[in-house]
Symmetry: C2
Subunit: 471 residues, 2 copies
């Protein structure tokens, strides 16, 4: 990783800070080092203290902040709620952190037009619950759904367990409003299901990790809430057989609303928390859910249960009740925290392989573990091939070898037709691996697009493909 670097940026002088206070308002500015510490990192280990934090409640304040950044050439790093896993909101070049946490109003849940209009700081789970209370459904569900922001979800094109049926955040962003690095406001996209007027700037901003513009409002598509959900838990002797069953379910006509898995190591950490017996010898667990009308859901679960048994499941627990379901999901969503608690060094990888290759892919991991002195905890979204490899290392001195091992894993993923990140993005942590996946031509074009939006390089410098020096 690059070291933090101010690059070509001048330090924030007292004069500049005073101008920011004047223009944005004293109470929206945080300069106390202890309070600023909270804004120095995300869910990775990366930390870099900003020189100032601005936490506005209006787009006009954001426009004013960019006005000053243009005049005085200081960097601005936008930040949702800091749950990212790639260092995307870490202010690696210093300057100002622009926190969107206080722009957290749900402006409308429009039940007639099936849209929600929200500010970027709204928590994903809050939007989900607001939609549900109106009989509607906002599907994207990253594991951090109770602590992550919709703006951050859009910036990273966050996925989640429901992606296998419902897609990612991208599929729900109809339109948005954003402040450009120039300070100008732009509306992109539409409020309707269709719209093809001009280039899709909304779709370009989704997934751009806060490097092109700061999203200040989102128009999101909602769908009717499925009347019923049911699920099953299937236990397998080993991970490859579990993964072969995943492929069988999908290629035999089913589209579950979730297909999650965890391996033996993960089960070792959370076994006692799960509401099932007999997990001692289990090599892999699948959690499969479907949603829809009650009659369809029940029949589909039966068929999927049979496919798992045919595929070698040693046990299938059908239709856990609501309390058990909630417990399973809680455990599933906290796995990465449990792994982190138990490790000296914790590196969350986030690869995707084509669903037909998942079993092959997981089969080759134990050899890599041995070769490179690392331990891999595997869990994630089996239904879309998105496998979270959580690598832990006992001894920081072997980190060089581990980095080599990660490169071997990522090369294998790409050779299988996969991608090195399915949900987390590139940010700082995957920059060095980016050239494995993207060609120089692609990076050049992306750099030029960045230049179009941000010619002075004041917005979130040093991320994705950009050299850290800035300026």
């Amino acid at each position: 990783l690059d070291t933090p670097s101010k690059g070509a940026y001048a330090p924030l002088t007292r004069e500049i800070i005073d101008r920011i206070r004047e223009n944005i308002g004293e109470r929206f500015v945080i300069s106390d080092p202890e309070r600023m510490d909270h804004y120095s990192g995300d869910a990775t280990e990366l930390r870099c203290c900003p020189e100032l934090v601005v936490e506005p409640t209006s787009k006009e304040q954001i426009q004013a902040l960019f006005g000053l950044a243009n005049d005085f050439h200081f960097p601005i790093t936008p930040r949702g709620l800091g749950t990212g896993l790639a260092g995307g909101c870490v202010p690696w070049s210093g300057g100002v952190v622009l926190s969107l946490a206080k722009m957290n109003r749900i402006l409308s849940i429009d039940t007639e037009n099936l849209i929600a209009i929200v500010e970027p700081g709204v928590i994903n789970g809050d939007l989900k619950r607001a939609a549900e209370s109106c009989g509607l459904f906002y599907p994207p569900d990253p594991a951090s759904l109770d602590t992550c922001s919709i703006g951050g979800n859009a910036a990273t094109n966050a996925g989640g367990a429901s992606c296998v049926k419902y897609g990612t955040t991208r599929d729900y962003v109809l339109g948005l409003e954003a402040v450009l690095p120039s300070g100008e406001l732009i509306q992109a996209g539409v409020r309707t299901r269709k719209g093809v007027v001009g280039y899709s700037l909304a779709q370009l901003l989704v997934g751009s990790e806060g490097t092109l513009a700061v999203i200040t409002q989102l128009i999101l598509r909602l769908i009717p809430r499925p009347p019923a959900v049911s699920g099953l838990v299937a236990l397998f002797a080993d991970l490859p057989s579990a993964m072969r069953s995943v492929t069988s379910v999908l290629t035999r006509g089913h589209i579950p609303s979730a297909m999650e898995f965890m391996d033996r190591r993960c089960l070792g950490l959370v076994r006692g928390l799960l509401p099932f017996d007999g997990l001692d010898r289990t090599g892999a667990l699948l959690l499969i859910e479907t949603d829809g009308t009650p009659e369809a859901v029940e029949k589909e679960m039966e068929r999927i249960g049979l496919i798992c048994l045919e595929g070698g499941a040693e046990n299938v627990f059908m239709a856990p009740d609501a309390i058990k379901r909630a417990r399973i999901w809680e455990v599933r969503r906290r796995i990465s925290l449990r792994i982190e608690e138990n490790a000296q060094v914790y590196i969350p990888e986030d690869v995707v392989v084509p669903i037909g290759r998942i079993a092959d892919f997981v089969s080759c991991l134990s050899e890599i573990e041995e070769r490179f002195d690392m331990k891999i905890y595997t869990f994630g979204h089996a239904g879309d091939g998105n496998i979270h490899l959580n690598i832990t290392v006992e001894n920081r001195q072997t980190l060089g070898r581990v980095a080599e091992g990660i490169r071997v894993v990522l090369e294998k993923v790409l050779a299988m037709g996969g991608t090195i990140s399915g949900e987390h993005g590139v940010g700082l942590v995957k920059k060095r691996f980016l050239p494995l996946e993207l060609s120089p031509v692609s990076v050049r074009i992306q750099n030029e697009i960045k230049n179009t939006f941000d010619p002075l390089r004041i917005l979130n410098p040093g991320k994705i493909f950009e050299q850290c020096a800035g300026g």
Copy 2:
């Protein structure tokens, strides 16, 4: 509309044409004026004869063509199968038409990974049938599905009747390969359901109307084929009540796989072709379909039928058999051709309004018809608010007033929160109305993105927001 203009482009000299023949191969070049006529327009009235047509079978030939265009500065206009409704493939600045019609191979239908890899000239319906024969489903279904190309669908982000449930072409493009105006090849996107490495160039190219790059290969997502489809036809006394029923169905938890409508005028043209009696006094027809498991589909159709009756339907014909369904769709998909046959001048508009406003919107059309001496045939995709307004004019001398009327309609659409194009795109025909929807800032950013991809302005000049002069 601008008049065709060579702008700053030099004519294609004999020397240049010879170089193209040498580099691309004699048999891939068409220069006979009669044969070239076929490549001069699309499904609009717009025509402009190219100076040369190149119809290659490989990406290397396309790269070579762009190499020459860079050297000699001539414009290249890419073309799928010419079914567009916005003039997007009309070579308005002369130069070379690059036809993708012969790059029409389905390279693979991968049943294990649920993807198709295709060349851009593949006909939409051919891909649909190839997927179906493997138990899979490629949903996007523009009315021209038996004559339009997948490459053209991606270039325009084509929608169709199934959008209400399944989305548009954008939702099925996982990745693509394209030739940039520089002649370089680029891979964008992934082969998997998820992928967040770098800016989403694939999503930017989708809907860019062939102005940023020429797509040479597409990786498309397929889904399991729904085991059953059922439908109903509901007849209403007037269009607003039909549209109120559409909103009721959608806000009461249903997601039909199609919700098409036609108004009294359209029915007047096709009444005799439909397999139903009693259409004489019908003011509007709704065709609603759902797909899924047989048991779910049947129950859902019953509920939707009841909602239509509650909403004032005068008659509901449940579950037409396969022959009737095919007939209804044939009639529905040919309406625009029938309207065109019966008109002096035919202008297809393609607006979208929020679904809660559809009834209000169609209610105001008759006043506009009278005021501006035009006749509006209304049909389209009620479920996503995408209303095809087919305007016919008896007398070319009133075209000025009609243009004024169209502007009034589009302004009303935008005031309601809609968009001026849901499927057709901007091309040449909506350029003059673009500033109604997009701000100068948005247009400037789009122009700069165009410049990033095509600094010499050799690819499809004069389209969307670009002045026609080129160069």
